[in-house]
């Protein structure tokens, strides 16, 4: 159980204007600006939950993760993770958690990945049998067998990221923090990683906290979303709930042969090309099946696709709504 209560964190950032004169001036006196990274942030996460933590750049996501990992001390507030305050009992706390910082690497650059894994085994004092079991399982699920003997420097970004995720799980952590884990992954790796995280959560009951800008990650993985902006928690709810809040309009893409059909009431044309129309539909006025029937009556349809609002659009709308 993670209990985050009234946490505040302010950074002092040195700023100066561009140019040589200002650079010289900054040698003698610097101007600082206070950045309120977190402003009275509170939330609770139950064991075994999978939470997506989203927000625009600079909203305070990584700051929250760093505090929960115990590597950053907040200015004020309480944080209780499994009965411990992370930054006060860092060493005991970090034994129970796994972290993937998508932007950084924990593998030794010049030695084969397996050597890094063995080092992690020794640092966490993982039992040999358990290590073997975890390694086999992770290699199978993340398809690492071939990669383990390769030095980290020769791996591609996606391959390395799979190894990073495995490295964070060798000691069976109860909580997994993923800070942009799918950054730079190709479609196949992304799906593999998502599938894997889901499996981990279901089979081992690992609590997963995920920050990402990839809304498909959120859609595929998390039930619950925390939205943070300008250092405040703005929304806390399920993805379905959020979707309901935003508009229910559908997007209809049709391809046709022959005459261009006339659009009816409740439809708005958003894009028209020879043989292809993109129509925004308000289901309150015209149902989807009626809309398709209406179009089919006029021309020969070769392809029809209907989609709701994507998570991407929804989040963009939320950011706009809260002006963050």
């Amino acid at each position: 159980m993670i209990n985050f209560q009234n946490i505040n964190k302010t950074y002092r950032v040195a700023k100066r204007k561009a140019g040589f004169g200002n650079a010289v001036k900054a040698l003698f006196s610097r101007e600082y600006e206070l950045v309120h990274a977190l402003n009275d942030v509170s939330f609770t996460i139950r064991d075994g939950e999978m939470v997506g933590y989203i927000g625009p750049n600079g909203a305070g996501k990584s700051t929250t993760i760093k505090i929960m990992c115990g590597i950053l001390t907040p200015d004020s507030g309480l944080c209780d993770i499994g009965g411990r305050t992370p930054w006060k009992e860092r060493v005991a706390h970090v034994r129970e958690i796994g972290v993937v910082f998508g932007q950084r690497s924990q593998l030794w650059w010049d030695v084969p990945v397996i050597d890094s894994f063995e080092l992690i085994r020794d640092i966490y004092k993982v039992d040999e049998k358990l290590y073997k079991h975890n390694l086999d399982e992770l290699s199978a699920l993340l398809d690492l067998t071939e990669l383990l003997k390769t030095p980290a420097r020769s791996l591609s970004l996606g391959q390395r990221m799979r190894c990073e995720i495995a490295a964070s799980l060798l000691h069976n952590p109860k909580i997994l923090f993923l800070d942009e884990p799918t950054i730079g992954l190709d479609a196949v790796s992304k799906i593999a990683v998502r599938h894997f995280i889901k499996k981990l959560n279901i089979e081992h009951g690992t609590t997963v906290i995920l920050t990402t800008h990839d809304m498909q990650d959120i859609e595929a993985l998390t039930e619950r979303i925390l939205l943070i902006g300008k250092g405040r928690i703005l929304l806390d709810g399920s993805l379905a709930e959020l979707k309901k809040r935003s508009s229910e309009r559908k997007t209809l893409v049709v391809e046709y042969n022959g005459n261009s059909p006339e659009i009816g009431e409740g439809m708005t044309l958003s894009e028209a090309k020879e043989g292809r129309l993109v129509i925004v539909l308000d289901p309150a006025v015209l149902s989807v099946s009626n809309a398709i029937a209406h179009l089919a009556a006029q021309t020969e349809l070769t392809d029809v696709s209907v989609s709701g609002v994507t998570a991407e659009e929804m989040v963009a709308a939320l950011y706009k709504e809260y002006r963050i």
């Binding site: 970090v94 932007q103 030695v111 063995e118 020794d122």
Partner: protein, 266 residues
Amino acid sequence: MKTYLAIFRIRFIHGVQYRIVVFSRLFTGFLWGMMMVLAYLAFYRANPTNFPMELSQLVSYMWMQQVLLILFSVVFTDNEIESSVENGSIAYELVRPADLYGRWFSRACASRVAFTVFSLPMLIVVLLLPEPYGMSLPPDIFQFMMFLPSVILALGVTVSFTMLMYVTMFYTISFGGVYVMVIAATAFFTGAVVPFPFLPPPVRTVLEVLPFAAMQNMPLRIYSGNIAGTDALRGIVFQIFWLVLLIAAGKLLMHRALKKVIVQGG
């Protein structure tokens, strides 16, 4: 302890990969050593009575210094430690359930040992060189038995000083400035350029109580027989004193720095 051995192991594996670096180090070490020996020989020939060390002691000092150069180098630093502070991968170091000081200490020792292992063949070559150019064996078995712990202690003192440099990085982020200052200071204060007996007495009295005197100065002079008998024992106690003090200071300062550290960026 197992943790630290594991770190020592991986850093060692990591260090022995760089063959070309090792060979070029051997080559320059040999040339530099030869040059120093020839230069001091010229001084000796000009005025043997005013020479503060026996010639054979000095030659042994010079060669052993070249063989163990990296082992006793304060500024033989670990790029990965530096860049981890500069680019923030230190975040990963901080989420490990083990003491950071101990882990960095073992890393720093391992990289020096890995390098030095490959310098050992140079020992054979310099022992085989003819008089007066070659290195001699220690005067007796006692000196040799004192030399061994002294080497290990000197490595410890050197690394614990390097650790202080690492701690300053938490405040300055960049390593460059401290690095340059320490290079300048240690080259002279440790006896790396000129052995202590050659320094004027007032300078010597000051330098001999500084922690730098507990680094290469001690084992090299014990090996060559310049510090012998009970003086050697006293030297080892002196080394232990500085080792304990520097480690305590380093741990304390690192503890304080880590409370305030902010890993920047996303």
